[in-house]
C-alpha cells in the first residue's frame, strides 16, 4: 500500500447528507482446501456475518451475494483459478488470503485487475512496500505488538530459560523474532529455538530438542499444529502452565472434539489480538451465522474477528466514498479506520455508518482491536489480550 | 558353393594360445569370477585379422562373458587385451564400439519403440546429426541420413526384414530380432564384428543366405568373431575355431582339425553329429550304427550318473 489516500477521485465533493444506494460486491479467497483449510471456516464466517450485519443495518449499502472462493494452498494452486473468477465477477474487493505466500502469488494479478486485496491474516513485512497501487490492505495486526506482549507475559511470570517452537513462515519467524528480542531484553534467555515447515506433520525431533534444553517455559508460535504439539508436549511430561500460545493456536480446546479428552491445558497462557468487547457473544453470533448457512459448528475462531472487521471497513469506506469502485473505496479505507487521525470513534457498523451519513468521519474500532491503518494499508494499533486456560480447557481473558 | 577358407593364420601349431600372423585382438590373462565360479580364465588368445573365427564351447563355458569383457560391458578381475594394437582394458563400451569393434547380444536387445529402420540407422557411426547443435540444422545431416537409410534398407532386404522396416522392433518375432541385432551391428561397418549366436532361432534357409553375406564382408576386409552352436555353420564359414570350456581356451585351429579333436568332441560336439535322431529314438526304421549305439549308451550313463548325483545331494 503505497498510497492509502488520494487515489480516489471526487469523494471530497460528496455532499455529506446525500442518501446512499450502493451495492458492494465482494469475494473471498480464503483457504477452503489444502493445509490451511482449518482457517477457512472462521474467516468465512467473519465475512458472512459482517455482510449480514451490514445488510441488516440498511444504511444505504448492501453487500451483494458474496462470491466464495478458495485460495487453497501453494501446493494445490487453487488460488490461481479463484482470483480469476473473482476478477471476472467484478468484485470490489477480495478478502484473503490467509497465508502471506498465497497472497503474494496472486496479488499482482489482483492489482492489475484493479481490485482490492484485503487479508485478514497476512503478517509478512513484504507487503508494506509492495507495488500495489494502494489496493492491498490487511487487518491482521503486525507481529511487533503481539510479540512484545507475549515476551512480557512470559517474563513477568518469572521464567528465565525459555524455548520457542515456531513455524517457518512470515507469521512464525516474525513473531518469534520480536518475542525473542523482547524476552531477552527483560533478562531472560532463549535456550532453544526450533522451527518447522508449514505442512510438516511430525514434530518429534523439535520437541525432544526443546525438552533437552530443559526450559522453564515454552512459547509455541504455531497454527493448527498445536493439536499435535500440545498433546505431545504434555505426554512428555511438560507442565501445561508453562506453555505460552499465540493467536494462531489459542483455541477453546475444552469445547473442541479434536482435542484429546484427557489432555489438560490448564494454566497455559496465550495472547491474541482482541477488541474491548468480550469475544464470547461475538463468537456465538459467528457460529449461529455459520450454522444457519448450512455448515457444522465452528470449532475454531482464528482470524474471524479480522475477517469481520475487514468487511465492515470496506463497507464503511464505500459509504464514505459513495462508490463501489475499488480505487475509490481503497482511497477511504485509511480514513474510516481512524488513520487520518480526526475520526469519531465507533465500534459497530451501524454507528459508524450513521457518522458517515451524517457527514462526519468515522473511526472504526472492531473486534480485532482499534485498527488504524497507516498509509501502507497496515494496521498500526492493536490491543492484545492475554488469556489463560482453566480446568475446563477453555481460555478466559486475564489482563482486564 | 563352398568358398575357399583363409589359411595360414597361425604362426605355429594349432595349440591353445598360438600366436597369429596378423592378430586383430590379443587377449592376455583375462579372468572373471562370479563368487566361487571362474567364468573366464583365458591365458592367451589371438584372433586373426581378415578371417572368420568361431568361438565354440559348451553352455556356460564363458563365451558371452568373454564378449562382455572384451567390449567393455563387464570388468575383469584381471587381464589385458588389445584391439588393433590399442590397449582396450578399462575403455568404456561405447568407445570400444567406436574403434570398430562391434558386438551383438545373445539375448537380443531390440529398441522396442523405435521402428526397425530407426534401429538400423542408429547403428551407423560418425553421424553428423548426432551432435546436439548440428541436430537442429537438418541441412548438416540430411544427406548423410539419406545415405544411411539407403544402406539400411539394403541390409534389411538381405535380412528379409524390409517388409517390417516401419514396424516397431517390439513387434518382431524371436528370430527376426536376432536378424535385426546382427544387421544393426553391420550398419557401422565394423573392423571386427563379434556375433553372439547370431543364427540361433534363424530359419535355416535364411541362415544360408546370410552366411554368404558374411563371407562377402570378409572379402571386403572385415574380421568376424562369432559364437555359435550350429556346427554346420561353423564348418561352413569359419576359418579358425577357438574352443572354450569352463572359462579356458582348450583348443584352437582350423575347423576341420578342431572338430576332430577328441577332447572337443567329448566335451562339446558329441560324436554323433550325423546320427539320425529319428533312428536313435526308434521312431523310424534305420540301421543303428556303432556311433548311434554309443550315443545311446552315453546318454544312459549320463542320466544315471546325474540321478545318482542328485540323490546324493538330496541326502
Amino acid at each position: 500500500g503505497c498510497s492509502g489516500g488520494g487515489t480516489g477521485g471526487g469523494d471530497e465533493t460528496t455532499p455529506a447528507t446525500e442518501e446512499r444506494d450502493l451495492t458492494l460486491k465482494i469475494g473471498t479467497i480464503l483457504p477452503q482446501t489444502g493445509t490451511l483449510a482449518f482457517l477457512g471456516p472462521p474467516e468465512e464466517a467473519g465475512v458472512g456475518l459482517a455482510a449480514a450485519d451490514i445488510n441488516e443495518a440498511a444504511k444505504g449499502i448492501t453487500i451483494d451475494d458474496i462470491v466464495w472462493g478458495d485460495s487453497g494452498d501453494t501446493d494445490n494452486k487453487a488460488y490461481a483459478t479463484t482470483i480469476q473468477k473473482l476478477i471476472s465477477e467484478d468484485v470490489t474487493a477480495a478478502i484473503g488470503a490467509a497465508s502471506s505466500g498465497v497472497t503474494k502469488l496472486f496479488l499482482d494479478d489482483a492489482v492489475a485487475a484493479g481490485i482490492i486485496t484485503f487479508s485478514p491474516a497476512n503478517t509478512s513485512l513484504d507487503f508494506t512496500n509492495w507495488d500495489d497501487n494502494g489496493l492491498y490492505w490487511r487487518t491482521a495486526p503486525a507481529d511487533t505488538l503481539q510479540g512484545e506482549v507475549l515476551g512480557n507475559v512470559v517474563a513477568e511470570d518469572g521464567h528465565k530459560n525459555v524455548a520457542v517452537l515456531y513455524q517457518n513462515d512470515s507469521y512464525g519467524t516474525g513473531l518469534n523474532e520480536v518475542f525473542q528480542e523482547v524476552f531477552t531484553g527483560t533478562g531472560g534467555e532463549i535456550v532453544a529455538e526450533q522451527s518447522y515447515n508449514t505442512g510438516d506433520t511430525n514434530f518429534d525431533a523439535q520437541i525432544s530438542a526443546i525438552l533437552a534444553s530443559n526450559p522453564d517455559a515454552i512459547a509455541l508460535i504455531t497454527f493448527d499444529e498445536i493439536y499435535t504439539i500440545g498433546p505431545a508436549l504434555i505426554a512428555a511430561g511438560y507442565p501445561a502452565e508453562d506453555l505460552y500460545l499465540v493467536d494462531g493456536n489459542l483455541k477453546n480446546f475444552g469445547s473442541d472434539e479434536k482435542w484429546p479428552a484427557g489432555v489438560s491445558m490448564e494454566g497455559a497462557k496465550g495472547t491474541t489480538p482482541a477488541g474491548p468487547a468480550p469475544d464470547t457473544e461475538f463468537q456465538a453470533r459467528l457460529n449461529d451465522w455459520w450454522v444457519a448457512d448450512g455448515n457444522s459448528e465452528l470449532t475454531d475462531y482464528s482470524y474471524a474477528n479480522e475477517a469481520y472487521d475487514a468487511v465492515i471497513l470496506l463497507a464503511l469506506a464505500s459509504l464514505a466514498a459513495n462508490s463501489t469502485d475499488a480505487a475509490d473505496v481503497a482511497g477511504k479505507l485509511q480514513e474510516v479506520s481512524g488513520g487520518s487521525g480526526d475520526g469519531e470513534k465507533c465500534d459497530n457498523f451501524a454507528d459508524c455508518a450513521d457518522i458517515i451519513l451524517g457527514g462526519g468521519t468515522a473511526d472504526y474500532d472492531g473486534y480485532s482491536g482499534p485498527i488504524t491503518f497507516d498509509e501502507h494499508g497496515d494496521p498500526t494499533e492493536a490491543t492484545i489480550g492475554v488469556f489463560q486456560y482453566g480446568a475446563d480447557n477453555l481460555y478466559t481473558r486475564i489482563d482486564l | 558353393m563352398r568358398r575357399p577358407k583363409t589359411g595360414g593364420l597361425a604362426k605355429g601349431d594349432a595349440v591353445p594360445g598360438v600366436a597369429k600372423n596378423d592378430p586383430i585382438l590379443v587377449i592376455d590373462n583375462v579372468t572373471r569370477r562370479f563368487g566361487g565360479l571362474t567364468a573366464v580364465d583365458v591365458e592367451h588368445l589371438e584372433i586373426p585379422r581378415h578371417a572368420i573365427t568361431a568361438l565354440i564351447g559348451p553352455n556356460g563355458a564363458g563365451k558371452t562373458t568373454l564378449f562382455n569383457l572384451l567390449c567393455g560391458f563387464d570388468k575383469p578381475n584381471s587381464g589385458t587385451w588389445s584391439f588393433d594394437g590399442k590397449n582396450l582394458s578399462g575403455i568404456p563400451s561405447f568407445k570400444v564400439a567406436r574403434m570398430g569393434q562391434v558386438r551383438t547380444f545373445q539375448l537380443t536387445k531390440a529398441l522396442s519403440l523405435l521402428t526397425v529402420l530407426e534401429n538400423m540407422k542408429l547403428g551407423a557411426t560418425a553421424q553428423k546429426g548426432e551432435s546436439l547443435w548440428a541436430s537442429i540444422v537438418p541441412a548438416i545431416w540430411r544427406k548423410q541420413d539419406n545415405d544411411i537409410e539407403a544402406k539400411a534398407m539394403e541390409l534389411l532386404t538381405r535380412f528379409k526384414l524390409d517388409a517390417k522396416s516401419d514396424d516397431y522392433a517390439a513387434s518382431l518375432s524371436g528370430g527376426q530380432r536376432k536378424l535385426l541385432e546382427m544387421a544393426r551391428a553391420l550398419m557401422s561397418d565394423p573392423t571386427l564384428v563379434m556375433l553372439d549366436e547370431p543364427m540361433a532361432g534363424v530359419n535355416p534357409a535364411l541362415t544360408e543366405s546370410l552366411l554368404d553375406h558374411i563371407l562377402d564382408l570378409k572379402d571386403l576386409g572385415m574380421t568376424v568373431l562369432f559364437v555359435e552352436h550350429d556346427m554346420h555353420m561353423v564348418r561352413h564359414i569359419a576359418d579358425w575355431v577357438v574352443v572354450m570350456a569352463e572359462g579356458k581356451v582348450v583348443a584352437e585351429g582350423p575347423p576341420d582339425t578342431v572338430m576332430q579333436d577328441p577332447a572337443v568332441v567329448d566335451a562339446y560336439l558329441g560324436s554323433h553329429q550325423d546320427v539320425d535322431l529319428g533312428v536313435v529314438t526308434g521312431r523310424v526304421a534305420g540301421e543303428l550304427d556303432a556311433s548311434a549305439e554309443e550315443l545311446l549308451e552315453e546318454i544312459k550313463e549320463a542320466e544315471e550318473a546325474s540321478i545318482a548325483e542328485a540323490e546324493e545331494e538330496n541326502k
Binding site: 482449518f38 531484553g185 533478562g187 518447522y196 518429534d204 525432544s208 493439536y227 498433546p231 | -
Partner: protein, 427 residues
Amino acid sequence: MVFLSAPTGARADAPDTPGGDQEQTDFYFGGVITYDDQPVEGVTMSIEGNGFEAETVTDAEGKWRLYVPEKEEYVLTVDEDTLPDGVIVDPEQLPEGIQPKQGTTASFDVAFGLTGSKIVNLFLGEGERITTSFWDQLIERLMNGINFGLLLALAAVGVSLIFGTTGLSNFAHGEMLTYGAVMALIFGVWLKVPMYITIPIVILLGAALGWALDAGLWKPLRRRGLGLVQLMIVSIGLSLAGRYVFQFFIGGGTYQLPGAGAPRDIVFGPIKLSWIDVASMAISIVLLVAVAYWLLRTRIGKATRAISDNPGLAAASGINVDRVIRIVWILAAALAAIAGVLWAYFRPGVKWDMGVQVLLLIFAAVTLGGLGTAFGALIGALIVGILVEISTLWIPPDMKYVGALAVLILILLVRPQGILGRKERLG
C-alpha cells in the same frame, strides 16, 4: 565489583498482588528477582522520573510491579541493601540493553516498547539448568527413530510388495495410511468403539480397501494393458482425489485418537516411552515378522516375485496372476491402514494429509533397501526413521528431511541397486 554491606533496616511488606499497593494506570514496569534460582522476597524497588516517584517491595515469588502515569523514560532502582547478604546486582547479569546508570550499580534507565508494560527481570547468582546430555538425547531419539522406522516399514513393505509384483509405484499409498487413521477416528472416536476392537476393524477395512482398489481399478487397468507410467499417473490422481475426499469429510483440522498423548511414563534410563509407543512397536514387529514368514515360507510370496519378473510366464506356470496381485493389494492396504493408525499415534493426530507427508519417506525407504525387496524396505525404513529423528542434532530442524534424503542419495551412489537389491547380468 563492589560489595556492599549487608542489608539493614526493616523490610516493607509486599502487596497482595504485584503493584496492588499503587494506583493502577495503563503503564507499568514489572519483573521478578531471583537469586540462585530462588525468588527473593522483600527487595525494595523504586521508580522515579518525569516528576513521579513510587516504591514497592517484591513478594514471595520475587515479583514486583510499579505503575507509572505516562509512557516515558524512568529510572528504576533496586535497593541492594534489601537483597540477601552479599548479593549485589551484577552488571553481567542484567537484561540485554540495560546498563546501570553512571556511578551506580543498581539504578537503570528504563523505557517502554510499543506496549504499556516493560519487564525487567533480575536473575542473580548462579542459576543452574540441567540439560539432557548429547548421548541421552541421541539414545532417546534413536528409540523414537526405531519406533518411527518400524511404522514406516509397515507401509514400506506394502509399497515394496506392490512394486515388486506389479511394477507400480503406488503414489496413493500415503492415502491408504490416512484411510486407516480416519477409519480409526470414525470407529474409535466418533462411534466410541474401544481401541482393541477398532484396530482389528481398521485392519479389516484396510484389507477391504485393498480388495476394492484392485477389483475396481487396478485389475481392469491391467486388463486394458496400461503402461506402468500411466498406472503411476493414475495412482497420483487417486492420491489427489483420496486426499481431498478425506478433507471433504473430516475437514482440514487435526483429530486425536483415544489415548493419544498418553504420558511417557515407562522409563529406561534416558528413554521414556508411553504404553502407546510400546504397543505400537510391538504391533509393528509382530506384523513385520508375520509378513516375513509369509514371504519366505509360502509359495505366494515367491509367486509375487515371479510375477514381477514376468507376468506372462508366471501365468504360463499356472500362477493365477490376478489372484496373487489381489492378495498383495489386500495385504499392502491392510498394513498401510494399521501403519496409518500407528502414525496417528506417533505424530500424534489424524489429519487429512498425514499420509502424503510420509509418502516420500516411505519411497525413500523402499528405494534405499532396494526396489521390490521387502526386507530391503524394512531396513531402509529403519534407516530413514532413525535419520529423520536424529539428524536435527546437527542440522537445523526445518531441514530435518534433508538429512534423510541426502543419505538416500549418498547410499545409492555407492550401491546403485539399493542395500539389498541385486545387479542384473548383461548379454
